[in-house]
């Protein structure tokens, strides 16, 4: 069974189809890079996979289940454009909060563990408001990994990150792939993404114009996929 299966998904804004009959899948241990221009529908698709909005037609299955099922949500981790942690709470409080929401057996221990893995244990009691950009981003990564999700959904994960956060994230993603987790990420930074991606899907005007394994040509020339399968110009 696919970890992520997107089957004939359409999404409409009024009558305008932002996604048209999207079919994708990702197997456990795979990293699927969603590429495409701004406005091609990458974020819309990721949000539908994550269950934040419902498709107009078609459906998404995560390990064969609806994304909105409680048990499915517990298996997904999401990093979006915002860091999704609270400025008024400390790093530790934030992680304990999410640990409790995910009903982890020992929220505090998991929180401490992830603070350590993201190099934030020293500032654990500092309010997020006082953190530097890079620290906030690492905390966002810790939040997404906290409940040990089987499927990681990342929307432009490398765009806003500083070097250290990129390094932390790439290390964690590699470990996750080694542990047969599934990653779906939308990205502009093809070079960073292709270091991890086993598969690539190109979205063009809300449609999948290419979906397949990442090939050496792609890694050598990030423009290759666009030139070959995307629209000219």
């Amino acid at each position: 069974m696919s970890a992520v299966a997107v089957d004939g998904v359409w999404k409409f804004y009024g009558d305008y189809p932002a996604l048209r009959d999207v079919r994708l899948s990702a197997e456990p241990g795979c990293c699927l890079a969603l590429i495409g221009r701004n406005g091609a529908g990458k974020t819309t698709l990721l949000r539908i996979i994550a269950g934040f909005s419902r498709p107009g037609r078609g459906h998404v299955r995560i390990f064969g289940q609806e994304p909105r099922e409680t048990s499915t949500r517990a298996r997904m981790g999401f990093i979006g454009h915002g860091i999704s942690v609270y400025d008024e709470l400390s790093a530790l409080e934030n992680l304990i909060l999410f640990g409790k929401l995910y009903s982890l057996p020992d929220p505090r221990r998991s929180a401490m563990e992830w603070l350590e893995r993201t190099g934030l244990e020293r500032v654990r009691n500092g309010l997020v408001r006082e953190f530097s950009r890079g620290m906030r981003q690492r905390l966002a990564v810790a939040r997404a990994f906290l409940h040990d999700p089987g499927v990681l959904l990342l929307d432009e994960p490398f765009t806003a990150l500083d070097d250290r956060a990129i390094a932390v994230l790439q290390r964690l993603l590699r470990e996750a792939l080694a542990a047969r987790k599934t990653i779906v990420m939308s990205t502009h930074q093809l070079r960073e993404a292709l270091e991890l991606a086993s598969h690539v899907a190109l979205l063009t005007r809300g449609q999948v114009s290419f979906h397949g394994p990442a090939t050496p040509e792609m890694v050598a020339d990030p423009g290759y996929v666009y030139a070959r399968y995307g629209e000219a110009g």
């Binding site: 454009h81 915002g82 999704s84 008024e88 999410f98 929401l101």
Partner: protein, 227 residues
């Protein structure tokens, strides 16, 4: 069931803790309540007997205005870092999320009301302690009506233009029956008349309003959050 209420509580505690760190909403709301109490004293002679008769109404106008400031912040607090996404992604039901936020708002709205009440009593020479337990009952029921409608509409208006204006524009007309009931009951109680005979129907209406709108909100909240 226990898990549900534990999640509700986690959300409530989170909201309260975040609010109490900055006290943004509570301070603004309290200051606003005091300012309105002051303004009313110019509109009506505060110590006149006729003012005492309408004082229940004045008090609830203060509560409704001040409460909106608290409620506006409720979902707006989730905005800056896209925190709402993380809450929607978490394996808790929309109902638990809604109740958790509503309870946090309830505590804050009640806190503002409980501070404003004695101030009101002093400024307007009202013996609000005369029927204290019954007044508390009305306060609890009225505040819940305000909170439950305000919280669900706060979710509706969180990322739209003119949020600050839209919330009261949508909330007050819906709240007319509840506010009217609370006003009628409070006016009697602060004048020393306990709830009896004709006023019991107001109490029933207030309870009914609370129950109906809580139920409808719980049913519709998932639609509001996820579409």
């Amino acid at each position: 069931m226990i898990a549900f209420f534990r999640q509700v509580l986690v959300v409530t505690v989170k909201d309260l803790r975040a609010e109490l760190r900055t006290k943004e909403a509570v301070n603004a709301s309290l200051a606003f309540a005091l300012v309105i109490l002051l303004m009313f004293s110019f509109a009506f002679d505060p110590l006149e007997e006729t003012t005492r008769e309408i004082s229940g109404g004045l008090l609830w106008i203060v509560f409704a205005f001040a409460g909106t400031l608290v409620l506006n912040r409720s979902f707006a607090r989730e905005q800056p870092n896209d925190c709402l996404d993380a809450l929607i992604a978490a394996p808790i039901s929309g109902a638990a999320l809604f109740l958790g936020k509503a309870l946090a708002n309830y505590v804050l709205v009640l806190a503002v009301e409980l501070v404003a009440l004695p101030v009101f009593g002093i400024f307007y020479g009202v013996h609000w302690t005369a029927q204290f337990p019954q007044l508390m009952l009305v306060l609890l029921l009225g505040a819940w009506a305000l909170t439950v409608v305000g919280t669900i509409f706060s979710a509706l208006t969180v990322n739209i233009r003119l949020r600050e204006v839209m919330l009261p524009m949508l909330t007050y007309p819906i709240l007319v029956p509840a506010l009217m009931g609370a006003m009628q009951l409070t006016a009697g109680l602060v004048n020393g008349k306990p709830i009896s005979g004709d006023t019991v129907s107001w109490l029933k209406m207030l309870i009914g309003f609370d129950v109906i709108f809580t139920a409808v909100s719980l049913v519709l909240v998932e639609t509001v959050l996820v579409g």
